[in-house]
């Protein structure tokens, strides 16, 4: 068990974390998982603490996951979403930050379309700031819940071969995942259409496969990424059908991976686009475990950050 203690006010990204810090979050989440199995799924730990959920971009599952985590810890959660926020009335981000600070929250969970906004907020407020996704930059709690799910399925992360497939460029989860998997000693291979592959990707130390089959071969874990059909996704691929033929995960193709491979997807899934239904619902899928584990991991993060006092600004 980890006896190392947490000292950061904020969780902004995985890039700056050490393997020991990641290990502490995962071990703490292990203990919180038990709370979900109790008849009364609530502990009094964060009673009297206020958490503001500040979502400048739509998110159902990440926000719900944070909300459930907050409720299970007895914190008071408060939701601000972009549609109702003063930001649409022309308030600057800095004024929003100062107004939030004046309400004296203990923690702020923020999602924003632009990279670096959570970092700016963290410098302005005494509250602990949790990045729930800043554009395509980092989404640390998703990477942590993915790592937790891998550890649960495989017993370890070190030495595993993890294939990440799909829209590498626009995914908000891929950078955090690459950082985390490398820090914990896994090997990462990525594959996707050229139009969805960032130019600098090799700089992150990943292997780039030229096609899906090369990436899948001998993989211990396959992470499928979502094609953002509602955004740029449609214009970057010739057709949904062709995308599935080239990069979609079917049962036959999954046979290239190790026999005990696990399949993951951060959701929401496009069945028949990036993943076949029989794979998503199949025995190797841990997609729903990812969702359950997300609550435990977010409880761990809320718990650890709430013990660190922020300085006055």
């Amino acid at each position: 068990m980890n006896e190392f203690s947490w000292s950061r006010k904020d969780l902004l990204g995985i890039a700056e974390l050490s393997a020991a810090e990641i290990g502490l979050i995962l071990d703490t989440a292990e203990s919180f998982r038990e709370v979900a199995t109790r008849p009364i799924k609530k502990v009094p730990t964060l009673r009297g603490k206020t958490v503001i959920n500040l979502f400048f971009e739509a998110s159902t599952r990440t926000r719900s996951s944070f909300e459930i985590a907050e409720k299970r810890l007895s914190a008071d959660g408060l939701n601000f979403s972009s549609a109702s926020s003063a930001l649409v009335k022309g308030e600057s981000l800095i004024d929003t930050a100062l107004n939030l600070q004046a309400m004296a929250p203990d923690l702020i969970v923020i999602r924003h379309g632009h990279p670096g906004v959570p970092h700016m907020l963290a410098r302005r407020v005494a509250a602990g700031v949790i990045n729930a996704g800043d554009g395509a930059h980092e989404h640390p709690t998703q990477a942590l819940l993915d790592a937790f799910t891998i550890r649960q399925a495989k017993g370890r992360i070190e030495g595993l071969r993890v294939a990440i497939i799909g829209d590498i460029e626009h995914s908000r989860v891929v950078r955090s995942n690459i950082h985390l998997l490398h820090k914990m000693g896994a090997q990462v291979v990525v594959a996707g259409p050229y139009t969805m592959m960032p130019a600098e990707i090799e700089a992150l130390g990943v292997e780039v496969a030229h096609n899906l089959d090369d990436a899948l071969r001998d993989a211990d874990v396959v992470m499928m990424l979502r094609i953002q059909l509602e955004r740029q996704g449609k214009s970057l691929i010739p057709s949904v059908k062709e995308y599935f033929n080239l990069f979609g995960l079917s049962r036959d193709r999954l046979k290239l991976a190790k026999d005990d491979v696990v399949v993951m997807h951060p959701g929401p899934m496009n069945r028949g686009v990036e993943i076949a239904s029989d794979v998503a619902d199949g025995p190797q899928s841990v997609i729903l475990e990812q969702v359950s584990n997300g609550v435990a991991v977010r409880m761990a993060v809320l718990y650890l950050l709430s013990g660190v006092r922020g300085g006055e600004e």
Partner: protein, 186 residues
């Protein structure tokens, strides 16, 4: 602290500890008039080996395996907002429903009573036990809450600055109770 030294004094050795645990097990069986509905719950860290030792003695006495559980009270502490960083949370394991059972909370040392208050709150979140009892190896006084042990191994007169250290074979490779007395003159 400067000018302060600790004198170690052994209160119990392995043989004395064994006798006391055996007597406590006997008292538990007697008070409960049987062992069928008993659930021994050890409070982390050193309530756990005490619960195991009591269970072993009861089994030797009655020929019945007693159910055990492990409770981590970190999430129920009343000092979380005053200490930093956050203490490490470890797993709780309560084997089955506590509904209708007599739960015996086990801890090595009873001091302020705050740990037991937290343990009671935690336990209540697992259901409605028929009764909850408290078994402690050492009662060192200085209570800050109205909590008393039902089965007590030994009562020790201590100063608030003293440290009572209980070691168990399972966690510390030896059975003994040592008091580290503060020599500072009040």
């Amino acid at each position: 602290m400067a000018g302060e030294t600790k004198r170690d004094e052994r209160i119990l050795d392995a043989r004395q500890m064994r006798r006391i645990v055996r007597r406590m097990a006997g008292e538990l069986v007697e008070q409960n008039e049987g062992v069928e509905d008993l659930l021994l719950v050890g409070i982390r860290t050193r309530g756990v080996p005490l619960a195991e030792a009591l269970a072993a003695e009861i089994e030797a006495m009655e020929g019945v395996v007693v159910a055990r559980g492990v409770l981590d009270i970190t999430l129920y502490r009343d000092d979380l907002s005053t200490i930093a960083p956050q203490p490490v949370v470890k797993e709780t394991h309560i084997p089955s429903s506590i509904e209708g059972r007599t739960v015996v909370l086990c801890d090595d040392v009873l001091y302020t009573g705050r740990t037991i208050r937290a343990a009671l709150d935690a336990l209540i979140d697992y259901g409605r036990a028929k009764a909850v009892r408290l078994a402690v190896l050492i009662d060192r006084g200085h209570r800050e809450l109205p909590i008393q042990g039902d089965v007590v191994g030994q009562t020790l007169a201590t100063q608030p600055d003293d440290l009572v250290v209980v070691a168990f074979e399972a966690t510390d490779q030896r059975d003994e109770v040592v008091i580290k007395r503060s020599s500072r003159q009040e």
